[in-house]
Amino acid sequence: MAKCKCKRLIFVFILVLSLSFDAFGLGDSDLSLARDESQNTSAFKDCQKIIGIPFLDTMTFDPAETENKIIECIRVGLKGMQNWPGDYDSLKKNKAIAIGYRKPSENPFIPFLYRHQNFLPSVEYWGGAWGCDSIEEAREKALMGCKKGSNQCVIFLENDCVIANDLVKDYIKGTRAYIEEQKKLLSQADKLLLLQSAIETVDRENRTRISAFYFTAGKPLMIGYPDYQQDYASICQDRVFYVLLRIPDRDLEKYKDQLDRLLKLGQYGCYQRSVNTVKDYTTPQEGRMMENMMRFVRYYSFRESPDEKELIMPKNLDDALSTEKIKEVWVEGSVRVTSKELPLIPSEYSRPLAIKTNESFYLGVEVRIPDNGSKCYVSKPFPNRVIDLSVCSNDLLCAKKVINTLSDYIQQELSSEPILAILTQDEEFAPGEFAMERQFKKSHTLGGPYYERSVYMIEIWVASSENPFYSLYMRQDFKGVGAKNVCIPGKSTLYAFLKVRHIFTSSVNKNDIYREPDEYQISKYKDAIQTAVNVAIDRTCRILQGELKDKLCTIVKNRR
């Protein structure tokens, strides 16, 4: 048995060794970011090390551990299968077990960069024989039993020995194919040194400081792709990831000065994105509405290494910094703005401009793998359903009436005490959206001497569920509902979802700088907005003669 295991280990070791050399490229791909001619920057030239490349991390796996993982996976699978004898060890010798397994395959719902980590073969059939005259006989019988259900059969157990060579080989082969593909994509990828890009943008725009608007109180800092992740969901996002470039100490001050400059600036970097597609947002389909976006920088410092409530990072960065303590983080977020640059929807995710740990200082690099043009779905997740208008599934007028009524009442409530906002005029919004604002006026919500700069973004969305696939594609027709079918074909449920987002700064004196609010002020506004929303839903439900239960108004068929 020892000899058997030893052979296996040598086999796996050789395979993994050869694979490691290929994947790392040793002088080929590990510094490909640094040597990218298109990024002719001193930072890239000076780089000592790039960390956080997702798929290279998988090559650090221990061969023996990998083998054990596969064997354990199959053992667990066998135990759950029909007619499995239970205790294999107690079976009489000259015994063998053959298994039919599915070849490693990708799971499209696992992020692209991590799919190769999920190549675990699953057992579909088994055949066994025990108490045979010879092991050859047991093997033959086991394979015969297995092949009744599957063509892809291999011997997994022979007496007390586990035979996993073929399985491991398949696993490694699948992984290798992905590594090759990813290596190829990485060489074609766009790489962007985020800090340098931001500074160049600021220099080009020649902006002066404006008051910053954003707050993140009570929310963890989430590192991710800010351009869509806050608003839209798409598996295409997997193709953007971040790596970190370790910076020599001598350059630290230079970069910190640049970061301070960005922090003082407020908003910068105007760009546009299309409303209803996440694929290739720079060249959206003709005729589709565009949203104005801007960028902003935030700074976070941590006394201790941050926990999940404070900082959420992608797995590759988490792994890369697992042995270091993060002390300071500078991130760049994005925000949807009006044509007058009033912020409407700030991103929940931010990209890492720089990270300082107890050991090093890193600059963030955005790597965008080329889109292969397929496998994208888009949706607009909405969590807060307020009206069940399933009765309007095939009646566009009915759906419009419900949405318009809700929209009117929300507007009325937000323009009443204590919020007193006014409708944002001369601005193009998608169907179901509007904004309200109260600029440089006394805050009746906070009371006392306080003044506010508030923007309310109201989004009403109609869909069959919280996060339906492809729900975004129908948006241009009518508030999330296809004009012809009203309901997405094949769905009978229809809900109206409501989001009211509030961005504000306040000042204790109207002649002072408007600053980010504190937790108390945020909670005061939150309560006021929630009250306004509740009243609006209640009034909508009454006027439409619906039934209100648990804050969900159900429109009843014969009354609408």
Binding site: K441, K442, G448, P449, V508, N509, K510, N511, D512, R515
Partner: protein
Amino acid sequence: MKLSKARRWIGVYFLVITATTGLFLLLFSGSVLLPISEEQASSCFQVIIPVFVGQLAVIFQWIAKEDAQKDKKSSIPVWAILLPPCLSAMIIVVAAVILAIGNLESINWKLSPKSFQNAITFAVSIVNATTVLLMPRLFPSSEKN
């Protein structure tokens, strides 16, 4: 003006102005009466307290040690004793009033919290440049006496 009267006047002035200004800054920041942030109020407090409390310490040190003294007539002009503290107090009061009124929605005066801080610093500077220099004459140390 007799020395005892001048001392009494200065003593009461510093006691009252320190207590009221300090209390006002500490308790009313962020209210309609003092529309500045806690940090700004704290900055003003830090400008006033070292100077005013320092003077109070000198005054009370003298009061604690000295018993009866001959009440001589002071050679310091009355205006030099009375005017600087009065002006300083007036600046603080006027700045606070303008700050509060200027924060009303319908008023267009523009006194920012930063200007208010400057006014406080200015008031303290006046006291520093005038009354503080008279203190050794009004409240001499025991050795000199």
